[in-house]
């Protein structure tokens, strides 16, 4: 499952981040490293981007980018 498929308000755990190197490094450095807990707080009114709860802060990520983040429930 990817973060884009995660159910709203469920806590999930990052298992891997896929994608081109620079893109991937950026996500990792923002805190999406293996083992991190993430929660989808909501989706923007136009269907994208997502609002996420990560490491005690709120971060917004587009669904296409969230689909590169593998998570386990």
């Amino acid at each position: 499952m990817t973060l884009a498929d995660a159910k709203k308000n469920d806590w999930v755990t990052v298992s891997a981040v896929r994608g081109e190197r620079g893109f991937r490094r950026r996500l990792l450095e923002m805190g999406f490293v293996t083992g991190t807990a993430v929660r989808v707080v909501g989706v923007a009114p136009l269907g994208d981007p997502l609002e996420l709860d990560l490491r005690g802060g709120r971060l917004s990520l587009r669904a296409v980018d969230a689909a590169r983040i593998e998570v386990t429930g």
Binding site: R25, R26, L28, G31, V33, R55, G56, R58, S60
Partner: protein, 713 residues
């Protein structure tokens, strides 16, 4: 080649009385600039970073008798990224590529985003530069229920840590004292942090360190090796020496082959270390201010209420720029009107009076007239930024804006462009990335600004019937021009974003900070900064251009004594001027668009500002310069002006072609001056002029020639 060798400081003797250099580093939105401005006070100096056209702020301050040179760096989350902003931060930190190596790093962290702030802090600290950590937003920590053990964090990192609030000023005295102490005793500010990597990575890190040492000098350590493994990519944009790139790429290939993921390992090791320490040092009380923020968000990013509020706020912003600033603009104009009258009364008529009135006063007035809109826009932007709402604008609009490659935050500048492109270009500052800012600046001038309205009103009023068969033709043409400009701006963004300003595939990483009450000091400072920069820098260019344009219209002097009595002296002067010669010279080029040389003069004059076209045409057609777009006399003249062969100069088709030209051409020196100021280079204003003028020419050509081919006249 760059090295860590210390270079002599600017403006200070090389050895004894050297002023310690403190670079200010931090995540975007951590309040870094606010803190920097607080520390800098009135000593702020704006310049460029070495080798790039990105603006830098520096300030020399004296704290407790100790002089310090403060340098603000662009906001960044990491030192491994490849964006222009991140590279500047790395170069400044390592003293590469023309940067003077720092004596001390002041890292500004955000208490409400502590983990991410510490991620940058440990990265920079590990590189061995003495560091002081300022935990900003301490005032908010309380309302958010965040309790952080500052002394414990200082022990864990091995560097001084101070809690401050850049917004309220709390803790700043303590910060100043610590800065001075750290500058004098750098060894007490050197972190003991080491990224705890598994042994599997040792070989690669050691080899990378060795390669980096050969490049950057003897003081390079393991942290530089890790940095090189993470960030060196090679390719055109990477200034790393090819031999180092090769070594690093080989090492990465080895790691990949062994199934070792260095990027995840390093990021996870640092976050793991941070999480471990914070589990003891950080307490977040449940039921805190985040809950308040979430409750506000339930309305402000709600599919229905959220958009209702958004549309309401944007309407207010637009209405404000468009109409509410009007009285203030009129006041500025009235003030310069009084000055003009005064000059006319005092100065004997002649060249000098003309210069003072039409060159100097018109130029200064032409700069000042933007002030009300700039102040108002930055008041509103300041409120939106400081409250945290601007991030929600980006969140709400990202879907729409990104479809043409623009950042969600480009919405406010784009909307402001419909009032005036000049404040809109200054407003692109709300975006962090240079590429996003540039793309927005390149398309904002296509939106129908209020200066185009008088021209459209004049031409539509003169050349189109009020209604054709019950259909309101004039209104349709005008709204058509607005739709065209929206379409053109979005299409231009899509095209430029895929060609000239191609960006890498970057994830949108938008922080949604907790809401807070905006502070007057922050907002006022922003209004003042932007206005000052515009008046002093863009203003100079505008003033010079106004004087040059005046010269084109006022020279060579026409001998007024030899004129026929029935020709107005103003008309005679303009018809004999360099501008008229230029207009005649332009005629072969603009004839295919349906324009004659008199329109050519108008186009040259309109470079000062588009609405000047109306006054210029008033003079050319002998109606006088005091006409406005509602003038019946001017409309009459426009309808009745004939070419030598007796055909009318203006037809509805010529009018449409001319409006196309005004819609697309970069006929606004103030906009170009603002772009020059914001990009710190002539390259982008020149690009803007060329592409917009080409677009204007082609659009007019298609409309006019297409219209002729279809049998319209």
């Amino acid at each position: 080649m760059a090295s860590l060798v210390r270079l002599p400081r600017r403006g200070a003797p090389a050895t004894t009385d050297r002023v310690p250099r403190v670079v200010v580093l931090g995540n975007p939105n951590a309040g870094k600039t606010t803190l920097f401005n607080r520390l800098a006070g009135t000593n702020l100096r704006v310049g460029n970073y070495p080798g790039v056209t990105v603006e830098s702020s520096e300030a020399q301050v004296t704290i407790a008798g100790q002089r310090l040179q403060l340098v603000d760096l662009p906001g960044t989350y990491s030192l491994c990224g490849r964006s222009a902003e991140e590279r500047i931060a790395v170069d400044a930190l390592l003293g590469m590529h023309g940067h003077v190596p720092p004596d001390l790093v002041l890292l500004v962290g955000d208490v409400t985003q502590l983990q991410r702030s510490l991620y940058l802090a440990v990265q920079a600290a590990e590189l061995g530069v003495p560091m002081l950590l300022a935990l900003n937003m301490a005032d908010e920590a309380e309302t958010l229920g965040i309790d952080i053990d500052v002394a414990g964090l200082s022990d864990a990192l091995g560097i001084p840590v101070v809690a401050v609030s850049a917004r309220t000023g709390a803790g700043l005295d303590d910060l100043g004292a610590r800065l001075v102490s750290a500058a004098n005793h750098p060894d007490r500010a050197r972190s003991t942090f080491v990224t705890p990597l598994r042994d599997d990575f040792s070989h690669a890190v050691d080899a990378a360190t060795e390669a980096t040492r050969g490049w950057l000098g003897a003081s390079v350590g393991r942290a530089h090796g890790i940095w090189a493994l993470m960030s060196v990519e090679g390719g055109e944009e990477d200034p790393t020496p090819p031999a180092v790139v090769q070594t690093i790429q080989a090492l990465r290939a080895e790691l990949d082959a062994a199934g070792l993921d260095v990027d995840n390992e390093v990021a996870a090791a640092r976050y793991g270390w941070i999480d471990d320490r914070l589990s003891l040092l950080l307490k977040v009380a449940p039921g805190n201010g985040r809950r308040f923020s979430d409750r506000v968000d339930r309305v402000l990013i709600h599919p229905v209420y959220g958009f209702a509020v958004f549309i309401l706020l944007m309407t207010l912003l637009f209405q404000g720029l468009f109409s509410w600033s009007d009285p203030a603009i009129s006041l500025v104009e009235a003030f310069f009107g009084v000055l003009t009258d005064g000059a006319q009364a005092v100065l004997p008529p002649g060249l000098f009076a003309d210069f003072v009135i039409d060159g100097l006063l018109a130029g200064v007035g032409g700069v000042m007239v933007f002030l009300p809109q700039i102040l108002l826009l930055f008041l509103l932007i300041g409120l939106m930024e400081d409250s945290g709402y601007m991030s929600r604008v980006a969140y709400l609009m990202d879907r729409v804006m990104r479809s043409v490659g623009l950042h969600g935050r480009a919405f406010v500048p784009m909307l402001s462009g419909f009032a005036c492109a000049v404040p809109a270009i200054l407003a692109t500052r709300t975006m962090e990335k240079r590429r996003d800012r540039l793309l927005t600046m390149m398309v904002v001038p296509l939106t129908t600004c209020s200066a185009r309205l008088p021209v459209y009103t004049l031409l539509i009023g003169a050349l189109f019937p009020a209604a054709i068969g019950g259909v309101p033709a004039q209104g349709l043409v005008l709204s058509g021009m607005y739709f065209l400009s929206v379409f053109a701006a979005l299409a231009a963004a899509a095209i430029l974003g895929r060609t000239v300003l191609k960006g890498g595939r970057e994830p949108l990483l938008l922080e949604l900070p907790p809401y807070r009450l905006p502070r007057a000091a922050t907002v006022l400072r922003m209004m003042w900064d932007r206005s000052r920069v515009f008046l002093t820098e863009a203003g100079t260019v505008i003033l010079v251009c106004t004087i040059v344009l005046w010269g084109l219209l006022a020279f060579p002097r026409v001998d007024l004594a030899s004129l026929d009595a029935d020709v107005a002296p103003e008309t005679a002067q303009i018809e004999g001027s360099y501008a008229a010669s230029l207009g005649r010279g332009l005629e072969p080029a603009i004839a295919p668009l349906g324009f004659d040389w008199t329109i050519g003069i108008g186009l040259i004059g309109s470079f000062a500002a588009r609405e000047v076209f109306v006054a210029t045409m008033g003079v050319v057609y002998g109606v006088g310069a005091d006409v406005d777009e509602e003038s019946d006399t001017l409309r009459e003249r426009i309808r009745n002006t004939r070419r030598a062969d007796g055909t009318p100069v203006y037809t509805p088709l010529v009018g449409l072609s001319l409006m196309m030209f005004f819609a697309f051409a970069a006929q606004c020196m103030s906009t170009l001056a603002a772009v020059k100021r914001e990009t710190k280079s002539w390259r982008w204003p020149i690009f803007l002029t060329v592409y917009m003028t080409a677009l204007a020419y082609i659009a007019s050509l298609i409309v006019y020639q297409g219209g002729l081919a279809l049998g319209f006249t």
